[in-house]
């Protein structure tokens, strides 16, 4: 009885597949999951891909960012992953641990996509245990947005590139702003600026192959002391970003003169600040502890990945190659404002002509990827909580950072066990 049903089902499936095949010509339909605004505009790009590759159809599914992580995980558990997807850099380690992603090494070896044409730090964030798992699609990093008029009036027509000089500049701005204003908006519930200071000081946050916290080591300590002093000296208010009603109004009003944020705010500042201020704001790369060359920031953005469960990996890879072409990268930039990951695209006048974007281009040559362990986002959130205890709760940095290290090492206990087990297995 069962076998009869089985045969009938198999027959129905074959007929069904044949039906699809007949409808789609050659018969491959790629499922592509893209998030938010990118998911909207990529529809336009894939039409050209379909024209170039007759027989391959791309079905783009647009997923809101807020639901994307859960949806990808659920799809993995239910064995319903797409062929290709956009994936935030910070999720890569997690999906690598799940072994959900196709290693791209063999495909890259015989491809026009070349790692040297990408920003090194950004490319590196896609390589896990020596194996590239994604191709950067667009990039994202944090730099300083500031009121050039306020800094100029305080005697700084250019943003200094070394921590001590930067600090002096912030103090000069604060003096002019008086008690009701601040030099820098540095919300303690955003951990990215602190991480950027950390990588600039040379910290990599975790030690011993990502199995222990390294927050009380000298490199991070140096960054943290600098960070905490910005609040202590009244240069930055210890206010969270949800405590100010409208960031752009406050920036326009001069409540704060600088803010460390990402490329999406280029468009927001341009459209939300009043016309009178449009020539009064600028961007600058992160200053470094020992001069501009040490000023690093975070390697962020999103990549294109091919799923291990895909049955059309060849075609999916062709789509990755297509979207990575410099001309498509530029087109994507024009549609979304997302900064291209491919360096060739950066020689276009659309990017070189704008000094605010040039600062991003400059910063992108000095980015560092975050530790590639699945627990990283949890650890970064813990860091934020502990840092807030120091800058708002007035607790001493020494003991708080030591406690953070202990906490982080506890969180990584499982990872240590898994690694030890893997080593034991390899030795045997």
């Amino acid at each position: 009885m069962r076998s009869v049903v089985g045969v009938a089902l198999a027959a129905a499936t074959v007929i069904g597949l044949e039906g699809c095949r007949a409808a789609a010509g050659d018969g491959v339909t790629l499922r592509f999951w893209a998030m938010g605004r990118e998911g909207e505009v990529v529809q336009e790009l894939v039409r050209d891909f379909e024209r170039e590759n007759p027989g391959v159809r791309v079905r783009v599914q647009q997923i809101p960012w807020s639901a994307a992580h859960e949806k990808l995980l659920t799809a993995y558990v239910g064995e319903a992953t797409p062929d290709i997807a956009q994936m935030g850099n910070t999720w890569m380690a997690e999906f690598a641990a799940l072994r959900a992603l196709e290693p791209l090494g063999p495909l890259l070896a015989r491809s026009a996509v070349d790692d040297t044409s990408y920003f090194a730090g950004i490319w590196e964030s896609n390589v896990i245990d020596g194996q590239p798992l994604g191709v950067p699609w667009y990039v994202d990093t944090r730099i300083i947005f500031y009121r050039s008029d306020l800094f100029a009036r305080a005697g700084y027509p250019r943003m200094p590139g070394r921590w001590d000089e930067w600090r002096t500049a912030l103090m000069a701005v604060k003096r002019r702003a008086g008690p009701a204003g601040y030099a820098l908006f540095l919300p303690p519930n955003e951990y990215e600026p602190l991480l950027a200071l950390g990588v600039s000081a040379g910290s990599r946050f975790l030690a011993e192959d990502g199995t222990r916290g390294a927050f009380s080591e000298p490199a991070f300590r140096r960054a943290f002391d600098f960070y905490a002093s910005l609040y202590r000296d009244g240069l930055a208010p210890p206010m969270r970003n949800n405590e100010i009603a409208n960031l752009y109004q406050e920036f326009a009003r001069g409540y704060f003169a600088a803010y460390i944020t990402g490329p999406w705010n280029l468009g927001e500042f341009a459209s939300r600040l009043p016309d009178s201020l449009q020539h009064a704001w600028a961007t600058a790369p992160m200053p470094g502890p020992d001069g501009p060359a040490t000023g690093a920031s975070l390697a962020g953005g999103a990549s294109l990945v091919v799923f291990r469960g895909s049955r059309h990996k060849e075609e999916a890879w062709r789509l990755v190659e297509f979207l990575s072409r410099p001309d498509q990268q530029l087109r994507f930039y024009r549609l979304t404002g997302d900064l291209p990951a491919r360096r060739e695209a950066w020689s276009d006048s659309a990017l070189t002509g704008d000094p605010r974007i040039r600062a991003f281009g400059d910063q992108l040559t000095r980015t560092v990827s975050m530790p590639k362990v699945p627990e990283w986002e949890l650890i970064a959130n813990r860091l934020r909580d502990y840092a807030e205890r120091v800058v708002r709760g007035g607790e001493p940095a020494d003991t708080t950072l030591a406690e953070l290290d202990r906490d982080v090492s506890r969180l990584l206990e499982k990872r240590r066990w898994l690694l030890a087990r893997a080593h034991a297995g390899a030795a045997r």
Binding site: E70, L73, Y76, V77, E94, A97, L98, R99, A100, N189, M239, R240, N242, E243, A245, P374, E377, L378, D385, E388, R389, R392, G393, K414, W417, L418
Partner: protein, 297 residues
Amino acid sequence: MIGVGVRGQAVAGWMFIAPAVSLILLFFFVPVTAGLVLSLTDFVIYAIASPATARFVGLANFAAVLADPVFWTALRNTLFFVLVGGPLTVAVSLAAALLVNSRLARAQGFFRSLYFAPVVTTLVAMAVVWRYLYHPHYGLINHVLGLVGLGPVDWLGDPRWSMPAIVLLSVWKKFGYNMLILLAGLRTIPDELYEAASLDGAGWWAKFRHVTLPNLAPTFLFVAVMTMIEQFQLFAEPYVMTQGGPLKSTTSIVLLMYEEGFRWWRMGYAAAIAFVLFAIMLVATMIQLRLQKEQTT
């Protein structure tokens, strides 16, 4: 013969309750058992890929929960919300019900709808408005405080004020519902009792104390129990207003459980928190039932 008949009846009985029992088994006992098993393992993100990496850890999750300072902070916040927010909600509901029910009140229907409006309003939309009200510089609440000479309060930013701010919001959001139930209770009190009390020379307070309250007791108890259960499950208000901050001052137990489980995928740990919360609510309910029994006997 009789035995068969009884057995037949028993079978029929079981068959009648079978749908309900199987639903309870399937959707209550199975998940609860699975949760209990989960709470005894170190199920984290790695275990989704290969369940074999989940280890049996005994009661280690429970020990970790009890040793976690964030859990105790969350428990303290939740108890504050239950013990301060609960009675306050009930008191405001009662006051509103008495006002609306007052013979002197005009347009009772209008006020009833008005007070009920927050209950049906989406919390997320409300949160946007309340964030403006609580704003340290331009907020209406601080403006009014300033008029009577009180200093500005950083409602959502100051760890000492953030929980009271959440309580205030939740009282405003919830009192309308309880008010309707209490109002129904008030309407069942016969007017003759008030008339008799008036003839005896009872004033407003004496009537409230000796007529209204005793007659309202059953309704009041229902409102109190339901409110307490609801208060323990505090989640949405801090989730949309403060995300549990600042300094964890508005993190409730349910919010902590949600974050551990669905944000960080530490399922074993989250399941342990769930069982601790279950134990606490069980004790609280038993205390209330005991009080109820004392009151009725």
